[in-house]
Amino acid sequence: MEAPTDTGAGDYPLPLEAYGVEVEIAGTPIVRGADLRIHPGELVAVVGPNGAGKSTLVRAVSGLQKPSAGIVAWSGREVGTLRGRELAKLRAFVPQRMPVPAGVTVREAVTIGRSSQLRPLGRMTAVDREAIDGAMGRAEVTRFAERALQTLSGGELQRVQIAIGLAQAAPVLIADEPTSALDLGATIDVAGLLRGLVDEGLTVLLVVHDLALAAAIADRVVVVSKGRTVAAGPPREVLTTERLAEVWGAEAHLTEHDGRTALHVAWLGSR
């Protein structure tokens, strides 16, 4: 476990620091002690087996789920003390798949994302409209901006969800399994988009299933096992053969060459 004092950020508070986070859902402990820190401008992937508590941990630090213990601070401010609109300016949360209301266009959905910046009944200004266009441009959804959400493919909808998050203009974007439901081509699209956003200076926290994908795009991975964070660091150092065996119970190893990653798995065990 990393010590709370070792923030490595000098005088500035980190975008997100979370220590000793515990979450109970309906009396069952899901997260039993997790630490999570993200530095400005990095892409962090939270990985772990099904049911390990990855999504719950990320929802808890995002303020979507109340932790039963622990400290979560965004830019040095305890999450419980932040008002909704303040938190919306510090982080955007992109769910795996949002419901799609009938007849709402891409531009309207991104506009709803921007509305987080307005006071109640406040009107959109030219700055807001620019931010909406900018978010659609960065997420590459401008081409189908006037189409209804129902008419989009899974990959297009995921990019719209990211555009909604970008319209919040928060320094950190959090996405829960953004590629889990996508085919190979759409996964490449979304992964490239997220990596590109980080290269432009955004900070991104992802929950990812696919370890090969995590290794390819993440600066750091955080491994969650049985509700605890058990390792954090560069993918190559953390996703070792021993750890894959220990945490996932898999006989597997990760290879990397020229930005191409692969997970070699003995699917049926050693023969």
Binding site: R83, G84, A92, F93, M98, P99, V104, I112, S115, L118
Partner: protein, 327 residues
């Protein structure tokens, strides 16, 4: 965008036409030109002036206010609960208001003026009970919990109403008008007592339009944008309860309107964006109730029939036509 503006313009035109008809038609027919003169204060104080100003104007305003309130109540509940079947029925208001009205009819038949108060109070009481059960404990404020608590309360109060009517069958005739839903020409009195509830409900709705649009993208997106989903749902339910209970106090039980009008405007505008649906439901509900009430007063004039069934007769064909086109 243009489509939405066209729909809003058509609804506004329908509302004005229905309001003029409500003012002009009846046992005494007043030419529309004279109606407009009277409204503009250019009347000559004749008997027509009296009829329009003292009898039909309050009733028309009641129809417009109640129609708009029920349309909006249905729209925000359907949005907040993400359920196309939501209407003021599902938060218990209708059941409670019916019970409160029948209670007055049975227990205090000499004080029938108390009926709107009884309907209002019991409508709000039923909604408050729904809130207590739906917004406490685990999963508080979840859609399933709200809907189930609402249906339970609706059943409970409806059973009470049926029980009272069965125990006092001689009171049934005076209860029918309320249960079917109808307006009366009783001057400004009803609006004077209920306007604060309409105003409070309407004010909450103004602040809810944007949060409801966020909620339409799911609880997680709404939370990402800084809204609290359970709180939005509670505020929407409170606003709908105020609007629907005040409406029941004036016009009895008109459940159909709140259920159907938002669907009609969504299908006509081809969008579920609340920025459009809420104002369009207000205009549509007002137009439908004023038109229905005009029919109810004129079909068997001078006998006035309850407006509820007439509204359904006008509303269902429009609804079915749009339903066929909407796939």
């Amino acid at each position: 965008m243009t489509r939405r503006l066209v729909v809003l313009a058509i609804l506004l035109a329908a509302l004005l036409a229905a309001a003029i008809a409500e003012l002009a038609l009846g046992a005494v027919k007043v030419p529309p030109g004279e109606v407009i003169d009277i409204l503009l204060g250019k009347g000559h104080g004749g008997p027509n002036h009296q009829i329009v100003e003292a009898l039909r104007l309050p009733r028309t305003i009641e129809a417009l206010v109640v129609g708009a309130a029920l349309g909006v109540a249905g729209a925000i509940l359907q949005g907040a609960l993400a359920n196309p079947l939501a209407s003021p029925d599902v938060i218990g208001v209708t059941g409670g208001a019916g019970f409160g009205a029948i209670l007055i009819i049975v227990l205090f038949p000499s004080k029938i003026a108390l009926l709107p108060i009884g309907a209002l109070l019991f409508g709000l009481l039923a909604a408050a009970l729904v809130f207590v059960f739906a917004w406490t404990g685990r999963n508080r404020g979840s859609v399933a919990k709200v809907v189930l608590a609402g249906i339970a309360m609706l059943s409970l109060f409806t059973a009470g109403t049926t029980g009272l009517l069965a125990a006092f069958p001689e009171k049934a005739p005076s209860a029918i008008f309320f249960l079917a839903g109808g307006l009366s020409s009783s001057g400004w009195e009803n609006l004077t007592t209920t306007w604060p509830y309409f105003a409070a409900g309407g004010l909450i709705v103004l602040f809810l339009i944007r949060p409801l649009d966020r909620l339409a993208l799911g609880d997680d997106v709404a939370a990402s944008l800084g809204s609290r989903p359970q709180f939005i749902r509670l505020a929407a339910a409170v606003a709908a309860a105020l609007l629907a209970a005040a409406s029941a106090a004036i016009a009895g039980l008109l459940g159909f309107l709140g259920l159907v009008v938002p669907h009609v405007v969504r299908m006509a505008g081809r969008t579920s964006s609340q920025t459009f649906v809420v104002p369009a439901s207000a205009l549509g509900g007002a137009a439908l109730l004023a038109a229905g009430d005009t029919l109810a007063r004129t079909v068997r004039a001078p006998i006035e029939l309850p407006v509820g069934p007439f509204m359904v007769i006008i509303g269902v064909p429009v609804f079915l036509y749009l339903l066929r086109k909407a796939v």
